[in-house]
Symmetry: C2
Subunit: 526 residues, 2 copies
């Protein structure tokens, strides 16, 4: 890091020198240079003012202009790949391959949103033309489309230093929508955040975009983030993190004079239901599949499979032994920071004491290396599972709870008892699915994504992805934080009535100069 650790307030750097902190290498416990400093309250105010002013210009940027900006960010990130890998691996303990993959996903996402806004049909344009002679009243000309809301505050996530952080899905979709972004960087990877912030700001300058289109602040605890969410010029919030963190922001946003939407991805245990047909194939492959999903990224995925339901019999218990053996033999992995490590250790420890729960695989936690933790497996009968609400809650990390169900009643009861989830997976034959339509129907009500014969980790970035789900998976269960639908989170519908052609956005002009898909007098057309 050549620069000191200062916030980015529009095109300037912060002057703040308070609340010094450093990133910690979770592999070694060492502090990493440089020292970072919090933005001052005056700078937070300035970031919001600049974002508002930038919005007045950027909200009218064409799809082509926004696309060029997003692609330029992606190109800049690509060109900094080596620096990103070096810094991000040091700050997160994640391996080089993972950071490379996540960076590719991040730039791919930026380019997907670029193509979306360049094509333009995403605005949901609708036109109903006038009928001046209609009786008893003339029909006016009404045209509507999605328009950007205004400045968006994005909170970087600890577990995805690239794809859910500074230039991650929230930022990409907000910028694509036409909203300036203020990022509150995650304190775990401030150096990685700074490199990405520079990539964005270089792109903004290069594209001649107004100052304030992007800012990034560092700050202690929750105070700076909450000040941003409370700011009257901020119009929406994107967050990926803990349930307590998301709920705190929801409260601040709700208690404003003008409440704003908070899109907080908070908590999910991603239940996996293994029906009889799942065990008719290769038991080793099924065990390895779950092991791989449960331990991917040291279990630090929103889509980590935390609950697995199956009916115990000779075959399924043999499978469970194979899965447990794999977890027992699994290497300890380095978690992202001491706070997350401690929370995992505490979660495992308290689960150990719950009535009816067997601690099947709970190795001693390594002492020498700060953030290294082993995979763990617990087992419980459905009847005991149902008695203890905490067993359905997330332990963030490589922990899996195997739940033994007996008969359909158990299965439906445990499913109905689940909170909202990002995903629900069901494994089996087509005959199993046909025999369990009620289970599948429950899962569809509980989750944003229902997966057939697949584990939940791995979230494809595409038009049809839903990375959402009822509360508490998402604070706002109507939406998704991955995939192109995410852009709609930062928009609202606006109608223009009897507007002269010259005062309509291009998307709504009669000649359809952008050649986009529209609903015109009830018919879809280009």
């Amino acid at each position: 890091m050549t620069q000191p650790g200062l916030s980015f307030i529009g095109y300037q750097r912060s002057t703040g020198k308070d609340h010094a902190f450093q990133a910690i290498n979770p592999s070694t416990g060492d502090s990493l240079e440089p020292t970072f400093f919090a933005a001052t309250p005056a700078e937070v105010e300035r970031a919001a003012q600049l974002a508002h002013r930038a919005f007045l210009n950027y909200k009218n940027a064409s799809g082509a202009k926004k696309a060029a900006f997003l692609r330029s960010i992606a190109d800049n990130i690509d060109s900094k790949l080596d620096t990103i890998v070096e810094r991000a691996t040091a700050e997160t303990g994640l391996p080089e391959m993972r950071i490379k993959g996540e960076t590719a996903r991040t730039t791919g996402q930026l380019r997907l949103f670029a193509s979306l806004v360049e094509e333009g049909s995403w605005v949901n344009a609708r036109i109903d033309t006038a009928l001046p002679d209609r009786q008893p009243l003339p029909k006016p000309d009404v045209r509507c489309m999605l328009r950007p809301m205004g400045p968006v505050v994005v909170f970087g996530a600890s577990n995805f230093p690239m794809a859910f952080s500074v230039a991650g899905g929230d930022t990409a979709s907000a910028l694509a929508a036409g909203c300036p972004v203020i990022v509150k960087a995650h304190h775990s990877h401030p150096g990685t955040a700074s490199i990405v912030a520079e990539a964005i700001l270089e792109a903004a300058r290069g594209q001649g975009l107004p100052e304030g289109i992007f800012s990034m602040v560092f700050g202690p605890g929750r105070s700076i983030g909450q000040a941003l969410v409370a700011h009257p010029l901020v119009k929406a919030v994107g967050f990926t993190g803990s349930r307590a963190g998301g709920q705190a922001l929801m409260k601040v946003a709700f208690e404003r004079e003008v409440p704003i939407p908070v899109y907080a991805e908070m908590s999910s245990v991603n239940p996996v239901f293994l029906l009889p047909g799942a065990f008719q194939g290769d038991l080793d492959a099924l065990a390895q599949g779950l092991f791989g999903s449960a331990t991917l990224g040291v279990g630090q995925f929103c889509t980590n499979p935390g609950l697995v339901f199956f009916e115990p019999n000779a075959t399924t218990l043999l499978w469970a032994d194979k899965f447990k053996a794999a977890m027992a033999a699994g290497d300890s992995g380095i978690m992202l920071n001491p706070g997350i490590r401690d929370a995992y250790a505490e979660g495992v420890e308290s689960r150990r004491g719950v009535d009816g729960v067997e601690a099947s695989i709970v190795p001693a936690f390594p002492k020498e290396s700060g953030c290294a933790v082993p995979p763990t497996v617990f087992e419980v009968k459905a009847e005991d599972f149902l008695k203890q609400e905490t067993l359905a809650e997330e332990i963030f990390g490589p922990e899996t709870l195997l739940v033994h169900t007996r008969g359909e009643t158990d299965l439906l009861q445990v499913a109905e008892n689940l909170e909202g989830q990002l995903t629900a997976s069901v494994f089996g034959s087509e005959q199993d699915f046909a025999n369990n339509t009620e289970l599948i129907s429950i899962l569809e009500r509980k989750a944003g994504r229902v997966i057939f014969n697949g584990f939940p980790t791995g979230v494809e970035v595409c038009h049809s992805m839903v990375h959402g789900g009822p509360y508490p998976a998402l604070s706002d269960g109507r939406s998704t934080s991955v995939g192109t639908f995410a852009i709609e989170r930062f928009c609202r519908l606006v109608a223009f009535q009897n507007a002269p052609e010259a005062f309509l956005p291009d998307e709504l002009r009669s000649a359809n100069p952008l050649d986009i898909q529209r609903l015109v007098n009830g018919e879809y057309s280009k």
Copy 2:
């Protein structure tokens, strides 16, 4: 009314005999038979349970089945038109023509949603097909669409006994989405509500729909409504009414263990900006136009024009005199109930005392007839207007505040100072619009619908209508409560990954059996 005034709990009638109340004829002050009684807490619980159970079935109803249900409701309402007109005019003081028109709008709206769900493309279906050989990871098959959320509680509005009440836009869009509805009837028109509830229930029975698809409760004050909003099986809320009422429901919904969305249409003063060109035509027509809009329905429209901005000069003041003369000569109209009448009288009285405000037309309120009130006009200079926040707030009724602006700075400042609005109107020549692009840009940020050379009353029910706008116009400014987009309020996105064809909803099957518009691998197609 042949029936006693009892709540409708699924297909049964309430047994409650507490909290007796009667509707009052606002024209005469007389109480109307029969006596109505509140539902018991146990019945409220039963309505929620029945709605949940009905949802498990109704969520999978085909578009054709839902369309048949909506059309049957419309037909039943049509067949009860005479009874509705007789009762509604007595309960609301609104004239027969208005009730007839509003009933036609209500049935038209039901039929519009019927055609929407019958056609089917509204679900936003998206398909991304698998690429099993993609490197480094295979791409899964992912398909998503909008799915209904669950039981919806709808609060009837006092000012639209048909179009925003029992079978109004909230109910029509929720039923179209696939959500059962529990209506909390407005205490002002319980008889009208009962007739419409019967129309819905006859349709539900006739279509063989499960009990609980619709319930309607009476209840005192806010307690029953809040109990419904707090119920864990309720998933969303539609409300049209006062800001205080909407805010109370928002708080209940936010403080639930699982918060739910509240779509509350609460408050709007619908600013009208008269630019120089507006005065180049027929001044009488412009004055009559504003008079008609300001006094329509005794000013009891969400879109009533409460603020009018113009620059004073000889011509515009002449126009203002014509408008004031029309308002002064306007008949007193009968408001919907004593509470609304009192609030209007208090609003007018307190505005009279505000610094710098001239009470231009404030006749004495008629004493003999309980709910009759006169139109009123106040005037103020922009500089005084800006000093008093209350002047930008809604006085529900036929009141208009004329604001004298001087120059562009005034105009932009008063516009920027506005709260969120359902509508903003701008009158002028195309040259005026070209000279005031900044004003129009501000209005687009402040309102759900920007109207050119038109008054705000009259909300066309069509695909492109936006009857929404930033808070406090709507609690959730992303959406609309009129027009077909309203259906999305009661839906959430759900994705299916690698689902066998047989377990996909028809909307997502590869062969596109419903022949709907979809986004398949990034291309729109049927």
